[in-house]
Symmetry: C2
Amino acid sequence: MIGIVIVTHGQLAEVLIDTAELIVGSRPEAMIAVSINITEDVDKLRGKVARAIKEVTRKRGTLILTDMFGGTPSNLSYSFLKEDQVEVVSGVNLPIVIKAINSRERMGLRELAESLESFGKRSISMASGILRGNKRG
Amino acid sequence: MIGIVIVTHGQLAEVLIDTAELIVGSRPEAMIAVSINITEDVDKLRGKVARAIKEVTRKRGTLILTDMFGGTPSNLSYSFLKEDQVEVVSGVNLPIVIKAINSRERMGLRELAESLESFGKRSISMASGILRGNKRG
């Protein structure tokens, strides 16, 4: 099992987990939300992320999902990147969270992160483009 | 100004708007969250979406952002698709919401939806891929 930490501004991480729970039907284990208040001290925030990683990490590493490339939650998370132990995917949406829950037992950490990046991109679609049969990127 | 309705399971839409407000620094006008409780009656849910569209629509139409292709919030929203009046983009994440707020005054509705689909896909990235200089899709 790969641990998952979602790091975002405000309550977004917590609500993504609540919504995923609603859809998959049970509280996902080894999955934690970290809420970043950007007025807090950076060392304190880094400590919150470190504790969350420690709490969810099992044998196969930890995936961090963040809200937005370039934001404080992402920047903080990048400092924990470590080959085979911590990967970070930014731009989290609900399909990524659900796919992560459903895929993390049958993939390695890097494979999971790569697969979520690609799945996440495909999960964003303009309806009239689909209906008109346009190419989807 | 293009109106924006975010339609999701549970509290996700509301929290996306709260988080965007935190980042852009003010409450976005003509932007409403619709929370879908899938145990509610479909006609009642459709009425909630219809009222939200009516409330935010200005001269240039309404963009609906939904959480996940194939889910009830998306399926409900698709029934409101109307050329030049309502477009739907599914798979919403925080970068899409912020970009929508910042771009909607200088684009037409279809152009905005197309640009958000493409921007949203680029907003999802695996950090170690960026650091290694891999191609980003």
